[in-house]
Amino acid sequence: MVTRVTENMKYFLLTNNLSSVQDRCGELMLQLSTLKRINKPSDDPAGMTTVMNYRDMLASMEQYGRNIDGSASWLNITESTLSSVNDILVKIQEMALSQASATATAATREQAAAALQPLIDQILSLANTKLGDSYIFSGTKTGTKPFEAEAAVYAGGPANAAKGNTYKGTASVSGTYTGGTNITYVLKIVTGGDLDKATYQVSTDGGKTWGVESKVGDLGAGTVDLGNGLSITFQAGTFGEGDTFTVDAFALGYYRGNGEEMTLNIGKDHTMHYSFSGEAVFTDKGAGTVDVFGTLNDLKAALAGNDAEGIRATLDGLKEAQQQVTRYQAICGTRTNDLEVTKSNYEALKENITGLMSNVEDADVTKLITDFQMKQIALQASYYMAGEIGKISILNFIK
């Protein structure tokens, strides 16, 4: 059977083919200009998801890399500071040894005592080293200067009222702190109201965990026993819910920071402790075993007092102090190493992922260009056909 081909059909087919070739050409041109196979989600929905996942991974690694760099510079500063402290401690040990011997006289000891003071000051200033705005040895209280020249114990004073508190009266702490380590007490108002209505909770770890809530009326007299010899007294006034009062209690000694370490994420579920607390490095409390400044001041006193026995008594302490500092110097090295390994892992992984991502989203240029040329030829053929189609007609042949 002969199919009737009508005029409409001819032109319909022609325009249809032209627009489909044009459409495909446009798509290829887009791919050629971006050199990407996936330019919108529908080009390859699954591929798009993969690319997004890779992109997320790369961005996370970028951030972890920044965190690693930050931790590394902190550890570097810590390491060089500890190394300087170590040098000075060696010098002091030599001095103590020579002044402990029988050849030393009251005059040499007095001289040594005078020479010791600047060295102690140096160690003190090293222990108070700052990186940016942060003291590196004050645990997580990076805004607090960690060491003071004189030993002291917290013996009361005003409690710190948080800025947003409703309560406008004064809160004062009385008593002498008898605890072994530095503690940040936080008292939080759970139910607001006047003294006889309000209830509170107390935290002994800076607000991370809380004790049981008090009963209504417990605050009636205005005094709360914090424990360890301290109590806090409020003037009459009205509390708001969530009002907090902080007490930085420190044990007898030179240290004012806390015993915690600063941390950063350097990977998924991978946390890096990048700081040491001054408590661990320079005191005999918490993780520390020897009171560095105490020992040094003992030595100074013994020297000044021409007390050979007293000088000898500090020798063990000095040695231990040096060991303690060296130990943390070594830990710095291990942690820096850990950071470097993690970082180079990330570098390798980044390269892998970039490669994988390119496999998924990048276009095969050779194939693209060949395809494009083929479509160009098809387009030319269609245009030629469009030019010729009107020329052939029965009208040309009948007169």
């Binding site: 009508t6 529908s42 209280k141 950063l264």
Partner: protein
């Protein structure tokens, strides 16, 4: 016995018949580009009795060439094409909203947001880091709001489209009914309704692009149009018009109802055509994307706020909400307490200003909050994007496929009903020849008459 007079009559018939055949050919040529036109063919038939030796000719009418079943298939195919074209239009817009192949967009904003928390954890008291975090959080909230608003705009536009489509299809229903009446009149009066039939068919095709329906031609020549579940839309000259009614249970969007039953929504009657596509896109497709975006925003806001409230700000106060506690992406905002005072960002787990709470918030990016504990926020968003991409891809390939079938059907229709100029020109020559020959016949008879007359003179 024959006589010259009857031969003259035959010649007259032949002249008239060929002339009307040329007339019909003329209409075909004139309508070569008229959409929906079905070509006509003259019906020649011989006239004359068995007792006579000669037969005359007459054109008893014009036959309209068309295939009834093909026309039904075309209407059905139009319903599919109408549906997929409208759906593609919507989804292309939505894909634009979700296209992040060049980076940017929500995913990047999320990453920047988490990274800003990481930076803050490294320097918990830094004002620069706090400012950077607030601006990252604000731009994240803005992206969420924009995307939600853009989706809502698409829904609004679809809603307008529903009402426009309903009023347009009402006008087709009206003209089908009107044509029904005219056709019945013309056919009963013995006239040629070819043109009216073409017009009615064209209206049925256009109606097909809007809704799915069935139609039956009754004995009188009128077509009756029914919805897919059998409710009448047109019966003879009568129409049951549709209307839109505001549905307060669905964001005040329109329901489609019959004018005489304004309380009964018939949205579910339509599964093909533009109307179904608009309803589905508005309520299910785009509505679904928006629900997912809302759920993403709600989970993000809740997780960040929970963690934020458990920390402490620069001043030693417990943290408040970081984002306004909302569940709609369109309402997402950083809480004003934070934007007014960056110190209120609770970066620390204790009053000692460690950066651990910021770390904990940054770690939310890896926690499996979505999909019943199977996906992170980013995973969920990628999956949403892939869903959009897949929907667009499926619609495009369905449309391509249906278009191929449509083109096939159109070609078939052309083969049966379309005008071929070659054919018409040859017919024209043929009828011209016939006309010329009939003229010669008349001239010959006239000469014979002359001969006869001159015989009586001499």
């Amino acid at each position: 016995m024959s006589n010259l007079g009857s031969v003259m009559n035959v010649a007259k018939g032949a002249l008239l018949s060929n002339a009307s055949a040329i007339n019909i050919t003329g209409s075909n040529i004139a309508n070569v580009n008229t959409p929906g036109y079905s070509r006509l063919r003259p019906i020649f038939s011989s006239v004359g009795g068995a007792a006579e030796l000669q037969f005359g000719v007459e054109v008893s009418g014009a036959e309209r060439l068309y295939d009834k079943y093909l026309e039904v298939q075309l209407v059905q195919q139009n319903q599919k094409i109408g549906y997929y074209e409208a759906r593609k239009g919507v989804l292309d817009r939505v894909e634009g909203i979700f296209n992040e192949s060049e980076g940017g967009g929500l995913n990047e904003s999320l990453t920047k947001f988490w990274n800003a928390w990481e930076d803050l954890s490294a320097n918990p008291t830094g004002t620069v880091q706090r400012d950077a975090l607030v601006s990252a959080a604000e731009s994240l909230a803005t992206v969420f709001r924009q995307k939600a608003e853009e989706l809502q705009e698409v829904q609004q536009d679809m809603n307008v489209s529903v009402s426009e489509t309903v009023s347009e299809l009402n006008s087709y229903l009206a003209s089908i009914a009107e044509l029904n009446e005219k056709i019945v009149q013309t056919v009963t009066g013995g006239g040629n309704a070819s043109d009216l039939l073409d017009k009615r068919q064209d209206n049925l095709q256009k109606l097909g692009a809007m809704i799915d329906f069935q139609y039956i031609e009754d004995a009188s020549g009128a077509v009756n149009v029914f919805t897919s579940n059998g409710k009448p839309l047109v019966e003879g000259g009568r129409t049951w018009k549709l209307e839109t009614a505001v549905n307060p249970d669905n964001h005040d969007y329109y329901n489609v109802v019959f004018q005489d039953e304004p309380d009964e929504a018939i949205n579910g009657c339509f599964s093909k055509g533009k109307l179904a596509a608009c309803l589905e896109a508005r309520d299910i497709t785009v509505g679904g994307y928006l629900d997912k975006l809302d759920s993403l925003a709600a989970n993000l806001v809740a997780a960040v706020n929970d963690q934020h409230r458990s920390g402490y700000d620069m001043y030693g106060n417990g943290g408040g909400n970081f984002f306004d506690p909302v569940t709609d992406a369109a309402q997402m905002r950083v809480s004003t307490a934070i934007t007014e005072d960056q110190g209120k960002i609770a970066a620390s787990t204790s009053v000692d200003r460690d950066g651990n709470n910021a770390s904990a918030i940054a770690a939310i990016k890896d926690s499996l909050l979505m999909g019943g504990g199977t996906a992170t926020l980013s995973d969920y968003y990628s999956a949403l994007m892939a869903r959009v991409g897949q929907d667009v891809k499926d619609t495009n390939s369905s449309l391509d496929h249906q278009t191929v079938i449509m083109n096939q059907l159109k070609s078939q229709r052309e083969t049966v009903s379309g005008v071929s100029l070659d054919e018409e020109m040859i017919n024209l020559m043929k009828y011209q020849l016939g006309y010329n020959a009939a003229g010669r016949l008349a001239a010959t008879v006239s000469a014979l008459m002359d001969t006869l007359m001159s015989m009586t003179e001499s």
